[in-house]
């Protein structure tokens, strides 16, 4: 028979990088920064009240060693906490999706853990565990495991019913259906949970540091504010949001490299 059927052309995802798409956000951001600079200069706003973007930039450059040292602490807390909550979240989600008994036992606790504000738990951790990195990591885990669990459970449970029946006709057991269909099916859901979790991890680490610590960007902000080193507070914020954006982008890149089929399927449907 005729094998010259039309083959859909494969396009790599990065080929779709569209410069036009970035023009608007870049213009908007630079306009706002210029406006900010002008207003500070025009109304002669005091440095301790609102530093101009240029003096924040200058501060970042001058205190780069200090900022770097504190960043290392914060990034470590974020990454260790995030990876642990990934492991815990995935295991918990797997157990919840596979067993109704586990679901009934565990899910209420998972939800209850989110109704207690982390800001309340953090001082308790300080009392029980003390200063140092561990209580911050625990705060990161507490705040970031939830989106991972909820998304992964959804993914595991929403595998296509027709495909499930097809696998049954091939003789698949419940466990085989779980491993060969439900788990791979849930990966895109897991990644969208991870994207939320990584940004929450940044917040978690800072909250942990605010409550009590001796290093980290959150600590640096807490220390600089009473001294009216406002440009240093802003510098910390800039670095922190840079870290958040970078880690978020990293998750997205891993996602696309790990499952190129997902983007393509999405585009087809």
């Amino acid at each position: 028979m005729d094998m010259n059927e039309e083959i859909k052309i494969e396009r790599r995802w990065f080929a779709s990088f569209d410069f036009k798409y970035w023009i608007i956000p870049i213009c908007l951001t630079s306009t706002l920064l210029v406006l900010w600079e002008l207003l500070v200069w025009l109304f002669d706003v005091k440095q301790w009240l609102l530093p101009a973007p240029s003096s924040i930039l200058q501060e970042i450059f001058e205190s780069r060693q200090l900022l770097f040292n504190h960043s290392v602490t914060t990034i470590s807390e974020i990454i260790i906490g995030f990876l642990l909550s990934l492991v815990i979240g995935v295991c918990l989600a797997g157990a919840i999706a596979y067993s109704n008994v586990v679901e009934r036992f565990a899910y209420p606790f998972v939800i209850a853990s989110q109704t207690i504000p982390v800001i309340v738990i953090a001082p308790l951790l300080l009392i029980w565990i003390g200063y140092g990195m561990i209580p911050k990591i625990i705060v990161v885990i507490l705040i970031s495991f939830f989106p991972i669990v909820v998304n992964t459970v959804d993914g595991l449970k929403s595998a296509d019913n027709d495909t499930m029946r097809m696998l049954k006709t091939l003789g698949a057991s419940r466990w085989q259906i779980f491993v060969k269909l439900q788990v791979p099916y849930s990966i895109p859901f897991l990644f969208s949970g991870m994207r939320v979790a990584i940004t929450l991890s940044v917040i978690g680490a800072v909250i942990g540091e605010w409550v009590g610590s001796s290093s980290g960007l959150g600590y640096l902000m807490m220390r600089s504010a009473p001294q009216f080193l406002t440009e240093r507070v802003f510098a910390s914020i800039v670095i922190l949001s840079g870290i958040g954006i970078f880690l978020f982008a990293l998750v997205v890149v891993i996602e696309r490299l790990y499952m190129p089929w997902y983007e393509m399927e999405k585009r087809q449907n």
């Binding site: 059927e5 083959i7 006709t169 091939l170 003789g171 060969k180 399927e265």
Partner: protein, 260 residues
């Protein structure tokens, strides 16, 4: 009928199958009193209007749903654990998007515990016959509709069951691709000697491929008539223009239209 039909008991017997669905509004009867005998090596089609319970019947045969009434036998003895022992190709290709063509094809063997390595080697030998050479390592999103269907069929065939059920496998394809697939399937089946049951609403498709055609009536589904297609094998699509064939086609269409 020229294929090897041995003079023993049918490989599949449906004895007065009935199916009733329970719904909130009450009971819905999908099938009533469906009886069939399928011989080993036979190619049998089931045609009927949409909503006549064709897919329900296949789901029961495959062992996915239990009949409300009646029994299913093989070689004269009741056949209960059919799930996993009858090849079943559903309407949609249902390929796993994260698996390559090759790894989709070997699913059944993988499930039965064959090592991936040897399953892949076996599947690679079949790629040419299924028109998939050169696409072994492509992903479903890179394939055309006809190719996806062929991967799905290869997956079903590699499960290596004597009896294979096909649920409107070509319904979603364009006319040209569909008739190419008919010719190709004819060639495959004539070299296999497997028992095939094809569900379709395309009368011409049913007649050109099958030894016998079961014509179903609707709501609830029942067997209206059985038509034997006494045309020589190997068949070709050109036979669809012969007078005998056209007469038979008209007969089946009239059967489908009649309201009894």
């Amino acid at each position: 009928m020229t294929n090897t039909i041995r003079n023993n008991l049918p490989v599949l017997t449906l004895n007065r199958i009935g199916k009733v669905w329970q719904s909130r509004e009450g009971q819905v009867e999908a099938l009533t009193d469906v009886s069939m005998d399928i011989q080993e090596g036979e190619f049998v089609s089931i045609v009927g209007p949409s909503g006549c319970g064709k897919s329900t019947l296949l789901n029961i045969l495959a062992g996915l749903d239990a009949p409300s009434k009646g029994t299913i036998l093989s070689g004269g003895t009741p056949w209960r654990d059919r799930l996993g022992h009858i090849g079943y190709m559903p309407q949609k290709d249902l390929l796993l998007p994260w698996r390559s063509v090759l790894d989709n094809a070997i699913l059944a063997e993988e499930i039965s515990g064959v090592s991936k390595e040897s399953a892949r080697n076996e599947a690679l030998k079949m790629m040419g016959e299924f028109g998939l050479s050169g696409f072994e390592h492509n992903y479903p999103y890179q394939l055309s509709g006809g190719m996806k269907q062929r991967v799905a069929l290869l997956r079903t065939v590699l499960a290596d069951n004597e009896l294979i059920l096909l649920d409107e496998p070509f319904a979603a394809l364009d006319a040209l691709t569909r008739s190419n697939m008919h010719e190709w399937l004819l060639g495959l089946w004539e070299s296999w000697h497997k028992t095939l049951i094809l569900v379709t609403h395309d009368v011409e498709e049913a007649l050109i491929l099958s030894d016998r055609v079961y014509v179903l009536g609707g709501r609830p589904g029942f067997v209206k008539s059985v038509v034997s297609v006494d045309m020589s094998r190997p068949r070709s699509l050109a036979m669809a223009d012969q007078a005998d064939f056209l007469r038979l086609k008209k007969h089946v269409i009239n059967l489908l239209k009649s309201t009894s």
